[in-house]
């Protein structure tokens, strides 16, 4: 038997070895329960993000924020809930909006009723914006950076790393050493409010440090599966990067704290690239080279299909264990009509549909997003490993959106849909409802399921030490 890690690293670029699909038996111990080297089988973490929340209902009535007490909220009792399952615990029935996920009900947990609990400081004013409050707390479990609201900086409002980056850089996650990429950032819909900033990127290393998503299938393919440089080129590039890294260190010494930190991040990126250059790329079963341009919003599902295949191939090859997918973005401008046709007759951009009170369109839009989520889960369950487990069984995907709903920009009822068993750490098939509950419970549950010590998580009023009930002891 050979160690998986050794196999992945043993051969330098250019050489190829077939890493079997599914998991290579030779890497497993006799029982197929762990890597031959003794390390546990890898568990992946992914985030699936969509914009514009869910269709609004009577449940979103009333604001939990104190900034505008007494505002008369027009959401009426007749606005029935199209999303929340009617029963809790196991065996719940799908609702209209959840219908696309029906075939995966046994593999997911639907968590409803949660909302951000972080503080909303009075000054500077403007820290209550529903978009950024939902996005920032949903991604980081911390409040919006208190920089006030001026439209432009408002899009750089995260205070700390998003959960994917917290995990990807946590010493208790990649315990057997990081793979080629600590994380991968993917996106599909380009119909974003801005093609920069927090409207466009959902992965953050910290304040003002974004990881923009790759939205081009061919570029994603090339990044992961294109032929690597030969040994001579690798050696030369390594020498170059050594010099560049030394330049970066020398420059950093001359800077103030803020810019030194920017240079330190730059330096660590250089180190990652240099490390990756010298890690053997296992020759995996390569996905098909993506054809077509996938231009325009009508192609978003096709894009997810192709990029999903590339992602799954990369996960199977253990090129990374952390990923984010921004299928649509916050305040999505994807144009859709009430029949769910992208660019169809009478289509309205999704966020405008929120503002115009077009619940029919937002219902269709929510279903599009959850259809995409279901397609991703299809791919993660398509093949079984030698032990009968699927990739999804060994993964934890957190599906979430930017707020509860877009008509009032309410942060109540912020949706979370867990998928996968995280290698057995999560039970699945649950609907858990906690009206007014702290959304950081979702983040805490993720961390503990991934084996990261987390007595509590959440910041500035959002702290919690209580995981969700489907986390196994």
């Amino acid at each position: 038997m050979i160690s998986r890690r050794r196999m992945l690293r043993g051969m330098l670029g250019g050489s190829t070895v077939a890493l079997g699909l599914p998991l290579f038996e030779a890497m497993l111990n006799g029982h197929g329960t762990a890597l031959a080297g003794g390390a546990g089988l890898p568990v992946r973490y992914g985030m699936f993000f969509w914009g514009n929340g869910l269709p609004w209902t009577y449940r979103h009535r009333g604001t939990t924020d104190t900034i505008s007490p007494g505002i008369n909220h027009p959401l009426e009792d007749s606005l029935t809930d199209l999303y929340t399952p009617t029963t809790q615990g196991k065996g719940f029935a799908v609702t209209e909006t959840l219908k696309p996920l029906e075939r995966h009900l046994a593999s997911i947990n639907v968590v409803t009723g949660l909302e951000p609990k972080t503080a909303i400081p009075d000054t500077p004013v403007g820290q209550s914006d529903g978009h950024m409050r939902g996005i920032c707390v949903g991604l980081t479990a911390d409040q919006i950076r208190p920089m006030g609201y001026d439209h432009d900086p408002h899009i750089y409002a995260v205070s700390r790393p998003s959960l994917d980056q917290y995990i990807a850089k946590h010493p208790q996650f990649y315990t057997d050493g990081p793979p080629q990429y600590r994380s991968l950032e993917l996106g599909m819909s380009a119909a974003t409010l801005h093609d920069f900033g927090g409207w466009s990127s959902i992965s953050h290393n910290g304040p003002n440090s974004l990881n923009p998503p790759q939205r081009d299938p061919k570029k994603l393919f090339d990044q992961l599966f294109a032929v690597k440089p030969d040994l001579t080129e690798i050696a030369r590039r390594t020498s170059v990067l050594d010099v560049v890294a030394e330049d970066t260190r020398q420059l950093g010494k001359r800077l103030g704290r803020r810019d030194r930190q920017r240079l330190d991040e730059h330096l660590s990126h250089i180190s990652e690239i240099e490390r990756r250059l010298n890690v053997t790329r296992a020759a995996c079963v390569s996905p098909a080279v993506p054809g077509g341009t996938f231009a325009g919003e009508a192609a978003v599902l096709d894009k997810l299909d192709v990029m999903g295949d590339i992602l799954v191939a990369a996960l199977r090859c253990d090129m990374s264990r952390v990923f984010t997918i921004a299928f649509t973005t916050g305040a999505s401008l994807l144009p859709m009509n009430a029949l769910g046709e992208i660019n169809g007759a009478g289509a309205v951009q999704a966020h405008e549909a929120c503002h115009a009170g077009r619940r029919d369109i937002i219902t269709a839009f929510s279903k599009l997003n959850l259809t995409a989520y279901a397609k991703l889960l299809d791919k993660l369950t398509a093949d079984k490993d030698v032990d009968g487990q699927t990739l999804l069984d060994r993964s934890l995907i957190l599906g979430t959106s930017e707020y509860g709903e877009g008509y009032t920009h309410s942060n109540k009822e912020h949706p979370f849909i867990f998928a996968g068993k995280a290698g057995g750490k999560l039970d699945t098939g649950w609907h858990v409802r906690e009206e007014g509950g702290n959304m950081a419970r979702a983040h805490l549950t993720v961390l503990r399921a991934l084996g990261i010590d987390a007595p509590s998580y959440g910041f500035n009023g959002g702290e919690t030490s209580s995981a969700l009930p489907f986390l196994r002891a």
Binding site: P74, S128, F196
Partner: protein
Amino acid sequence: MIISLISSRASRRALLGASLAVVAGCSHGVTGNPASGRGGSSSSGAGGSGGAPGVVTDPPPPPFVPSPPALPRLTTAQYRNVIRDLFGAGIVVPELEPDQRPYSFSIIGASMTTVSEHGVDLYGEAAFGIAKAVFADATLRQTVVGCAPAAPLDDACLVQFINRFGLRAWRRPVTADELARYQALAGAIGRADPWVALQYVTAAILQSPNFLYRVELGEADAAKPGWRRYTGYEMASRLSFLLRNSFPDSELFAAASRGDLDTKEGVLAQATRLLDDAGPTETMMSALYAEYLDLSLLDDVKFPDVMDPNHTLGASMRGEVLDIVNRIALRESGDMRTLFTTRQVAVNQDLAGLYGVMPTASSALVPAELAADGPRAGILTTGALLTLNNRPTRTSPTIRGLFVRQRLLCGSVLPPPPGIPAIMETGGGSSQTIREQLEQHRRDPSCAVCHQAMDPIGLGMEDFDQYGRFRSTYDDGQAVDARGDVDGAAFTGARQLGQVLARDPRVMACLVKQIYRYGSARLETAGEAATLAELGRAFAARAFRLRPLLLELVSSDGFRFTVEGAQ
């Protein structure tokens, strides 16, 4: 009714407006200080009874305190220009991480944000790829290297190359330590093939932070204890990136090495020389205004086919507004306030019909004069600015007003808190005019406090539709009521709005602030208020001509001095 669609980013501003559709409980209303910089010679256009919400009288600014260095990365445009100027236009620049563009300007994003790992990967791929292309061209590599290397590579040529190429790429002399490091790199690559060694030395120079970042840290100045004066090379770089969007030319480097740029006079002499070169200066001005006015949004606007059979209207509108800016700011060296009142425009076959001037078959812009008694004058009535700030299917007085408030008056407006539904601008089916819908904001005091800053301005532009066409009635036959006001200054129609803004001293103070930010690659700090006020006074004293303002800017203490960054 078929709803016409504007793809992706085209209506991002429209969506912003949507998020501002209803504002409640924002007791501060307009933030920032719309009156800051008041002190121009004109009388205030913000008069009227009671003054503007949030307008306060400035106390005199505190004494000037320099700001810490900005350390911007090269923007993607600067990177491309630099590669072009180092190697010629034949070298293709591969993909780079897209710019971030907070506060309108990519140069601010370049100093505010940190590059991602993928962005550093792209920098590396670009550097290796560019170096490979350069050294694959036997003529070009000889020109770039500048000496004939022996095989194996000799030290004399290697050292000469590192010093000469390093100076241009890093905008300063290479230090002894760095020289040794890059000589060692050549050895590590292998000197047997001199061109290969030089290629990888080049690739390293092009992905060093000394290339990717503008390192402008200053040096101690005995005359200014505690301050740091930007070195001559740093000033050369600051001047060149401001006025050329690229690295310094040989005259600037020579001026830096002579110490000329340590004095205000030396800086002025070089800036004057650069500004005298009309073509590149217009290119700079176009780049500045394209970001300032958010003209990239025009790329994605889908006009009705009847208006835009060739799908070139957006590009024509963009070219036209930049032509007006360049004519007044540079070619005529005119009063920048006349941007808002000029009847001299430039039209081509796409625009003549829109403006109702003599038709032309030209696809290039040709000068034209708008009717003296017509509805248009000034850049606010150009197709570009009338089109940009709307919702996809109709005008949005709120969004148009926001643009004037934020970009032209330098005020800012708060977002609505969550939990507030959109109750206006609901569009389709309503028999109310937009004015009647927006009346809601006046009735509800919690809305009014913020919307008062936007809606009354935008309502006064209702005499033009969302594609910039003049109208006196709406589609349903109701008459257009284009009465508006800016903080008490009443007007009717977009043309008169231009006249109001031309009289409002905040507009020129705001322009000073925007150009200062562009030149500093960051937001102004509190300690720079004195510089901004002084620049505003000088601008007014020179009849609001842009060239004197740029010269005042580059010779100001704020542009010439910095301090050590906080540890």
